[in-house]
Symmetry: D2
Subunit: 306 residues, 4 copies
C-alpha cells in the first residue's frame, strides 16, 4: 500500500476544497488532481498541478489576446499542423507537475530527461522507507537472446523462485543493516554514535523506492512519452509513462490525439527506406540486397512493412 | 493605446468567467490575470497563467503529500533558507506565462535568457502594426562618459528635438515603404505582385514593437529580474522587469521578499573584499593600494562601502 | 567584402601557427579553421574551434578507455544505429564554435535555438558597421499565394527596381541618422552631446548586419540543420545552414552521412499515412476520402508519395 | 586499482601520438589528457578533451577576429571584470569532456546538474564490475547533531568495525547474487535461463561504481564546482570536484583565479547583512536582536564575520 491513512487524508482534504480561478481549466485534469495512480508494487504518480489546456496551445501559436479559436475543429486542425511540422514552442506553453514514487534504478533512467524540474526526497536529510520493487512473476524475465538490452522469456519454476528469494532477502537484509547503522543504540541496547544518513544510504539496493516532484512542459513530456512509452523501453519505466499518458489524454485531448497519430503510431523512414517503398509501390520486388541497408536496419524495416 | 476595443473586450470576457479548480490559487495573482500593465509608450505585460504559490515551493522542497507547512512562519523560514543557500529547484516548481508587447531591440536582449518558452508573433506570416518606441524626453540621454554601455545626461533643446524628429520620421517612412512593398497595388492603383512578408520586414527599424508569449519558472524569472531590474540594465528592459516584479510580489510574497533581501538588496564580496572589510572592522584603515583590487573594482567597492 | 585587410591578416596568422595536441583531430575540419565562408552579400561563417570527431561519438557511446573501435566499418554501423534510434547523447560529445556575421532578422530566427552558447557584438558598447543585407535580384520574391509564410515568383521589372531602391535608400538614410545622432558635433561643426549608443541603435533596420560567436554540440547542430537547411526555411537562414553543413561533412563524415540518410532525406509518417501506404502496397487504390487526413496533410503526403 | 593493464596501455597509446592542430592549445591541459586522477578507493577522473583557453574567453567577449588581446594583463583584467559582473556567456565558450568513475549515490547527486552532456555505462547492456565504495576509516562519520544533512565525529572502535563489515559483506553478497542471477548455470552446473541484466542490476547497492563521459562548458563547470567543492557538499562528491578544479587551474589559470576570488573565496551578503556590517563599520555594536535575521542566518553570519 503506497499511501498511509494520513496521506490519504491529506489527498482527500486537497480534493475537498475547490476554489475560484480565472485561469484556463481542464475538467479532465481536475478529476485527476492529487489522486494516486498505482504503478508497480509500491509506486504511484499523482498530478499535483497543471497549466494550460488545448486552447492555450492555439492561443500561444497565434500570440492572441483571447483564448483559442472560435471553433474546436479549427483548434484541432492547427494543433495537428503544429505537431506534423515539429513546432515545439506552442506545446511548451502547457506545464504539468507530478509527484512520483519510483524505484531508484527507474529514477536513474528518468532523470536523463534534462529539461524538467525535479525535487527528490533527500536521503542525506531523511531516512528512507522500507520499500523495494520486487517484480511480479510475469515480469521476471530472462535476458533476451537477440536484444542486448532487453528481456526474453519469463523465468519459470525453481529459477524464478530463487531470484525472487534473493531479491527479497538481500533488500530486507540491506535495510535491516541500514537501520542498524543509523541507530543510536546497538541491538543489545547499549549506545552507539549512529552512522551519518548520507553514508548509510549507500548500503541500500537500487530497487529501493524514492520519490520526487517532477515538472515539465507538454513538448518535453511528449518527448519523454515517445521514448519511455515505447515498446523498447524497460517495462518498469514504461508503466509510469503509460500512467502519465492516460492523464495527458484527459488533460489535452486534441494534442494527445495528434501525438498518438504523428509520434507514437507513426514511422520514421530513412532516405533508403523511402526509396525501397517507392520502388515497391511501383510494383518492384525489393529485397535486402537492393536496399542498401544493414541487416539490423532491414530487420526493423521488414518488421513494419513486411 | 496598446489595446483595441476588441482586445479590451476579450480581456474583460476572460476576467468575467471564473471557474472552479482544485489547484493552488494565489489570490494576489488572480487580480492581475489578463490585465495589461502599460510599459513604455505602446508596450505592456499581461499575466496569462501561473502555476503554484509560496506553499508550492515548500511542498516541493519537502516532497510532501499535502500543501506547505502548518504555519506560514515556517514556510517563510524555509523559503528564506532555500534562497540563502542557493537551492534553485523548489523555486522552479512555480511557473508564470506572460503576454508581452515590446520593441525589437528589447526583445533581442530579453531572448538571451534561454531557459524560457517563447512564441513570438511571426512577421513571416503576418503584417506588423505601425507602432514604434519613441523615448520620452527624460529618457533621451547622451552616451555616458564613464560607462561604455550606459547613458549620461539627458539631451536638451535643439539636439533632443533633432533626435526625436529623426527617430519618428525614419520609423514612419520605413513603415510607409514596408506597406508599399507589401501592397498588391502601386500608389497609382496599378497592380503589382507585392514583396514577400518575410523580406519586407527587414526594412523596419529595431524600435518596431513585436509581441510574444513568454513562460518561465520562478527560479529563472528571479535570475532575469536580478539582471534586468538592476540599475545597470538598460532602462527600456528595466521597466518591463519592474512591472513583472510587481506582479511576482503579489503572487508569491514570501519568495519575493527573500529575493529582495538576498539578491536585489544584497552584495557579493570577493575574497579580496572580504579581507578588506575584516581589516576595517578590526579598526585598520585600508585603501586601494592595500586592497589588491584593480581600480575599477575598487571604485565599485567604495561605491558600496565608502 | 566582409573582411578588412587587418582581419584577413589575423586569420592568416592564426592558420600559420600549428601546434601539437594529444586531442582528437579532424583533418577535414582543420582545413576550415578560421577561414571565412561567404554567405549572402556581406555575411560569413568561420569555424573557430571544434571538439571531437566520428570516433569520439563511438567512444562516448561505449564509455570506453581508448578511441573508437578497431575498424571504421564498425564505427559507421554504430553511428547509424545511434542516429536511427534517436540516441542523442553520443552526438552531444562533439562541439563546434563558429564566428558568424548575419543580418539581424536572421539572427532573430537563429537565436530561437536555445541549446547553444552565444556572444553577440554589443551595440550598447560599440558602434555598428554600415552594412546591410540587400537581396540579390533572384531572391527578391513576391509573397507566396499558397503558403502564408513563404515566397512565390521573383519580382520583375519596375517593381523589383522600386523595392531595391527603397531597401537601399532607407538603410542608408537610417545609418546616416544613426551616425548623426551619435556624433559629438552637428553637421555645421558645432558641438552636441551625442545620443547614447544603446538608444541610437534602435533607428537601424533589421537587415543591418551583426555578428556573434555561436557554440553548440553536434546533436543540437543537427537539429538546427534539419529545420534550417530544410526547403521550408527562409532562404536567408538556409544559406547559413548549408554553409555550416558543408563544414560538418568534412568534420564528422560518418555522422553527417547518417544524418543525411535518416533526417534530411527521410520522411516522417503518421499512423494514418502508414495505413494508407500499407493498403497501397497491398494493391488498393486509396484516395483522400479514405485517408482520414485533412486536405493540407493529404497535399503534403501526395507531394512525397504521389 | 581502477585501471587494468589493457586500459593503462590504451591511455599510454593515446598520449604517445601527438598531432598538429590549428586550434587553441592549453599546455597545462595537454599534460592532463587521458591520465587517470585517482578519487576515492576505486574512482577516477580523466580529461578526455577540451576546447578553448583563457584567450578564447576574451576573444568571445569581444567577438573578435583574432585571439585575445595583445597583453596577458589585459586578458586578466577583462576576465576578472566578466566574472565580477556575472557575465556567463564568455565562459561558456570553453568546454571540457571527462571520463569519470564514481559510486552510484555520487552519480545521483552529480546528474542533478542538468546543463551537461552525459553518456553512462549501461547496466541494461553490460555487466557491471565488482567494485564498491567503502569509506576510509577517517571518513566513517556519525550523523551531525547540528546539521540535518551532514556528518559529525568519526566513528570509533567496535562501531566503526561493525559498519565497515556490514558495508563490505552486504556489497559482496549482493554482487555474488547479481552474478548468480545472471548466470546461465546454477552453482551445481545445471543450466538456467539467467535473469535479464536490466532486472538483475536492481539488487546492487548504491555504493556500486559506475562510469560516464561527462561534458560541460566552463561556466556551468564553475557552477558545479562552487556547489560541490564547497565545505557543505558531501565529502564523496567534493573530492571529485577538487580533482577537477586542479585540472581547471592548469587549463585556464586566469579564469580559475577569478573564480577562486569571486566565487569560492567570496561571500554573499543579504540586505540585512549589509546593514549590520555598515553599522559595525560605523562603530556600532550590533547583535542578533538588532539584525532582523533568523537564528540560523545569524549563526552563519557570525561564522564569517565574528
Amino acid at each position: 500500500m503506497p499511501l498511509s491513512p494520513d496521506q490519504t487524508a491529506e489527498i482527500a482534504a486537497a480534493r475537498a476544497t475547490p476554489r475560484m480561478t480565472l485561469r484556463a481549466v481542464s475538467e479532465g485534469m481536475e478529476a485527476h488532481l492529487y489522486r494516486a495512480h498505482d504503478v508497480l508494487d509500491h509506486g504511484f504518480i499523482r498530478v499535483i498541478d497543471y497549466m494550460g489546456d488545448d486552447a492555450a496551445i492555439v492561443q500561444a501559436a497565434r500570440v492572441s489576446y483571447g483564448a483559442g479559436t472560435k471553433h474546436v475543429s479549427n483548434d484541432e486542425g492547427l494543433i495537428r499542423y503544429l505537431m506534423r511540422h515539429w513546432h515545439s514552442t506552442p506545446f511548451e506553453m502547457c506545464e504539468i507537475k507530478l509527484h512520483v514514487k519510483l524505484p531508484v534504478f527507474v529514477a536513474r533512467q528518468w532523470i536523463r530527461h534534462r529539461t524538467a524540474n525535479v525535487n527528490e526526497y533527500s536521503a542525506r536529510y531523511s531516512i528512507l522507507d522500507r520499500e523495494f520493487y520486487i517484480p511480479a512473476p510475469d515480469q521476471l524475465a530472462a535476458q533476451s537472446t537477440v536484444n542486448n538490452q532487453g528481456r526474453g522469456a519469463v523465468l519459470e519454476g525453481a529459477e524464478a523462485a530463487r531470484v525472487l528469494d534473493l531479491l527479497k532477502s538481500d533488500a530486507g537484509r540491506a535495510f535491516d543493516h541500514y537501520e542498524a547503522m543509523l541507530a543510536d543504540t546497538q541491538p543489545d541496547g547499549s549506545p552507539q554514535q549512529g552512522l551519518a544518513r548520507e553514508l548509510a544510504r549507500m548500503n541500500l539496493p537500487m530497487n529501493t523506492y524514492t520519490q520526487w516532484y517532477w515538472k515539465t512542459d507538454l513538448h518535453n513530456l511528449f518527448h519523454f512519452l515517445r521514448l519511455r512509452a515505447d515498446a523498447h523501453a524497460q517495462y518498469e519505466i514504461r508503466v509510469y509513462a503509460e500512467a502519465i499518458a492516460a492523464c495527458v489524454k484527459d488533460w489535452v485531448p486534441l494534442a494527445h490525439a495528434a501525438f498518438e497519430d504523428y509520434r507514437m503510431g507513426g514511422e520514421n523512414l530513412s532516405a533508403k527506406a523511402v526509396a525501397v517503398l517507392k520502388r515497391r509501390l511501383a510494383g518492384e520486388v525489393v529485397g535486402w540486397e537492393e536496399s542498401g541497408m544493414s541487416k539490423g536496419e532491414w530487420r526493423e524495416f521488414v518488421g513494419v512493412w513486411g
